[in-house]
């Protein structure tokens, strides 16, 4: 609530962000430390690799989502885009297209979806919630229609191998997070486009008066989100070896949650790349730990909910304390 933020002290945004990520890292480290003591399997190379693989997809999604949230928008379609993208790439591969072409085509489909969202928001004046909810619904329908609800088997082996392999001891899937996060970080923090994204989220009127092309930036944000989601679709299809339109169900909420845990404000103009990334891995660690500790899956839900509250509350406290 804006109410509660009004008492915030003047703090330079930069230092604040750094400190915030540090504390989130602290939390993640604490979680890992506890799990290393509680189980003798957590701190094994194999498990860490698993953890990195498991968190990577939501991490990429949450980075894209963060771009959108910074503009005070929201992208509910990302889960559906992931599922749809697995269908696209699987179909293309099975139709005999080379991998690189199939990947590019899938990303272009993501781009088209992002452009459509931008168009709906900028030109048609639709609220982001509505246009992306509509896409969510429709895309699942289109994906199911294309496959008739079935799974498309990807026979191409290279892709699956890639998803399983590691490079320098770190799973390729995690490298893909780096591949997305590094340019995203650069874009957000070190280019004028990034700055304009914050400006648009903070006060679109001010941005417009400064000559910023607000529409273009909204296109940009939704394209980043949709292309990230399509990319996650590529990764997921590689990991699963199939294309299936129902995959990625509910991932939009996980991505948004990761982003918010990572310090992004749903009111816009507050967010980073590192925050959501850590948020995603905190969630992945909770799940991984619960599995290792053999926590009943129902309890696991309850605990996840409570931990989300605890983490964000803790963060609020720290912010106010400063």
């Amino acid at each position: 609530m804006a109410t509660l933020e009004s008492t915030e002290k003047p703090v330079s945004r930069k230092n604040y962000n750094l400190l915030f990520s540090l504390t989130l890292v602290g939390l993640l480290v604490a979680l890992c430390a506890i799990l290393s003591i509680a189980t003798n399997t957590f701190a094994t190379g194999n498990n860490i690799a698993n953890l990195l693989r498991q968190g990577s997809m939501i991490a990429v999604l949450s980075i894209g989502q963060t771009f959108v949230i910074i503009t005070a928008g929201i992208d509910l379609s990302v889960g559906a885009v992931v599922g749809f993208a697995t269908v696209i790439i699987a179909s293309l591969l099975q139709a005999g297209f080379p991998v690189w072409l199939a990947i590019i085509a899938t990303l272009l489909v993501g781009l088209a979806i992002g452009v459509f969202h931008g168009f709906g928001i900028v030109k048609m004046g639709l609220p982001p919630f509505i246009i992306t909810l509509a896409t969510l619904t429709s895309l699942r329908g289109i994906g199911l229609l294309m496959t008739n609800g079935a799974t498309i088997n990807i026979t191409h082996q290279g892709l699956a191998q890639f998803a399983r392999d590691s490079f320098l001891g770190i799973p390729n899937l995690f490298w893909m997070v780096v591949v997305v996060a590094a340019p995203a970080y650069l874009l957000l923090e070190h280019t004028k486009w990034g700055r304009y994204l914050f400006a648009v989220g903070s006060n679109p009127e001010a941005a417009r008066l400064s000559g910023v092309n607000v529409s273009k930036l909204i296109y940009l944000a939704y394209c980043v989100s949709a292309v990230s989601a399509a990319f996650v679709g590529v990764l997921l299809s590689a990991r699963l070896g199939v294309g299936n339109a129902t995959q990625g169900d509910g991932w939009e909420l996980q991505a948004i949650a990761s982003s918010v845990i990572g310090g992004t404000s749903l009111f816009g103009a507050v967010g980073s790349v590192q925050g959501p990334l850590i948020g995603a891995f905190i969630l992945a660690t909770i799940n991984n730990g619960a599995n290792l500790l053999n926590v009943n899956s129902f309890w696991q839900r309850i605990i996840t909910g409570l931990l989300i509250i605890a983490i964000v509350y803790f963060d609020q406290l720290r912010r106010r304390g400063k």
Partner: protein
């Protein structure tokens, strides 16, 4: 380019020429066909009542809104300004009436927004901060460049907006009531800046409700009334009375006046009151008395007022209400006691901009409008209509959104919503910011009526002539401390100013 250099050397050619420019917002004719020229290098003042169309004119000139009809010539060639970027591109910049910057970005980022310093496509953040700081220092504004804009007071934000508009290769710079939130001292700095820009050949358009500023700065002045262009005068061929008459179509004798009302018993007093932003404040306010608080931006007056109103409760010291010590822990307590506060920032604290005028005006009194299970709609409507009438709020309907009003008319709501509240102590924080001369007189008359009813008033103002003339007792604040207490006209304005600055 040759035509441009040619045009600028021939001073008879207006830099900007408007022919029959008109602007309508739906049924509202904010600007009726207007023909007006701005000459290169002049300071051109625009005056007019609240809602006369001044800000609308500025918005048309800067491409913020599109004119409904008419033509515009920039150095002799027709231009169509579709959006702010078009205006900026040819060198038109503005400091708008409402501070329109990004609260989440740093001061430096705001100053360079849309015009970032880049190297290899990447932002030079450090350099921008250094340069922004240099700009601020150069102009004489004491504001750090690396803090978030939202952490500054509204006055400081206004200064940042000013700094920002003046450094971007501007050839034509518009100020829409830039001194509304500035003290005399800051205003002087601003005037220095304006003269410097003028010397550099920049054309300045200057909008203000303060006549003395117009006479101090302007070469020519144009008057708007009700969306109509009334006339342009050379500044040395006109005077205050003539302008006021042109503006409001009648003459106005006394502007600052406080009706003589006998003081009654003490309403509120504080002893050594301390809180965030202020310390050790002692003051007393009696029935029939206006207590003025004067100081520079950030002197702690607003914080003090908010603590009396229970928003940011004080941390130590004592408050007495009718002689009895009390604690004011929240706003509700203050209101129930009989304290009303018209806050400083209408945008952030005073108004629900996207709600109807009626709701805004009635917000503090819905308690009394609730009859059993439902609301007394008649009473709600009557009260809204009465305030709109009494304060001459210019609007087609009580159901219009507060955001559709001109700045001054918005300010009237902020004040109006408390007027019939029946409070015993009224705190007005910068009550006449952006209010035209006629309405100002009206507001002062309302103060008089409140006093006669037995109420007490605290007025906070950064506009010294106002508090100087209004206040029975004037307290001067500096950096959160009370540095002087004077009765009416006990000291000269210069002495008070010196005290506030601390020289």
């Amino acid at each position: 380019m040759t035509t441009e250099t040619l045009a600028s050397t021939v001073s008879a050619v207006p830099i900007l020429d408007l022919r029959d420019v008109e602007k309508q917002y739906g049924p509202v004719r904010a600007l009726k066909p207007l023909t007006l020229s701005f000459m290169p290098g002049e300071v051109h003042a625009i005056v007019g009542e609240n809602g006369a169309g001044k800000s609308t004119l500025i918005k048309v000139l800067t491409g913020v809104v599109k004119k409904t009809s008419g033509t515009m010539f920039w150095r002799g060639t027709e231009v169509s300004l579709e959006n702010p970027a078009d205006a900026i591109a040819i060198g038109i910049n503005a400091v708008h009436q409402e501070v329109v910057l990004c609260p989440h970005l740093t001061v430096a980022a705001n100053i360079f927004l849309g015009d970032e310093v880049l190297k290899g496509g990447l932002l030079r953040k450090k350099e921008m901060i250094t340069r922004a700081q240099a700009i601020l220092n150069d102009i004489g504004f004491d504001i750090p460049a690396d803090v978030q804009l939202g952490s500054l007071t509204i006055g400081q934000q206004q200064l940042v907006a000013t700094a920002r508009a003046s450094v971007r290769g501007t050839k034509f710079l518009i100020f829409d009531e830039p001194t509304a939130y500035l003290t005399r001292q800051e205003a002087d700095q601003l005037f220095k800046l304006i003269r410097r820009l003028k010397a550099d050949g920049v054309t300045i358009v200057y909008i203000s409700h303060r006549m003395e500023e117009v006479f101090e700065l302007a070469d020519r002045v144009s008057v708007l009334r009700d969306g109509n262009f009334v006339g342009t005068r050379n500044i040395d061929e006109t005077n205050n009375a003539e302008l006021v008459t042109l503006m409001i179509n009648r003459s106005l004798e006394q502007i600052y006046h406080k009706e003589k009302v006998a003081f009654g018993s003490e309403v509120l007093s504080t002893r050594a009151l301390t809180g965030t932003g202020f310390a050790d404040i002692d003051l007393t306010v009696r029935q029939g008395e206006i207590v003025g608080l004067y100081g520079l931006i950030g002197a702690g007056r607003s914080e003090f007022a908010l603590s009396l109103f229970g928003r940011n409760p004080s941390t130590s010291g004592e408050i007495k209400w009718h002689g009895k010590p009390i604690a004011i822990r929240d706003v509700r307590t203050a209101i129930d006691l009989g304290i009303a506060l018209a806050p400083e920032s209408r945008r952030d604290q005073g108004l629900n901009l996207n709600l109807p005028i009626s709701l805004n005006i009635n917000l503090p009194v819905y308690d009394t409008l609730q009859r059993g299970l439902t609301l007394n709609h008649r009473g709600e409507i009557d009260r809204a209509e009465k305030q709109i009438r009494d304060l001459a709020i210019k609007t087609p309907s009580r159901r219009s959104l507060a955001s559709s009003l001109s700045g001054g008319n918005q300010q009237k709501i902020v004040i109006g919503k408390w007027l019939n509240h029946g409070a015993e102590l009224f705190i007005f924080d910068e009550p006449t910011v952006g209010v035209d001369v006629g309405t100002k007189a009206e507001i002062y008359r309302l103060f008089g009526a409140l006093l006669k009813r037995g109420a007490a008033i605290i007025v906070i103002s950064s506009y010294l002539p106002e508090v100087y003339e209004l206040a029975d007792t004037l307290h001067v604040f500096r950096s959160g401390k009370q540095v002087g207490t004077h009765t009416y006209r006990e000291k000269t304005e210069e002495e008070i100013l010196a005290l506030a600055i601390g020289v």
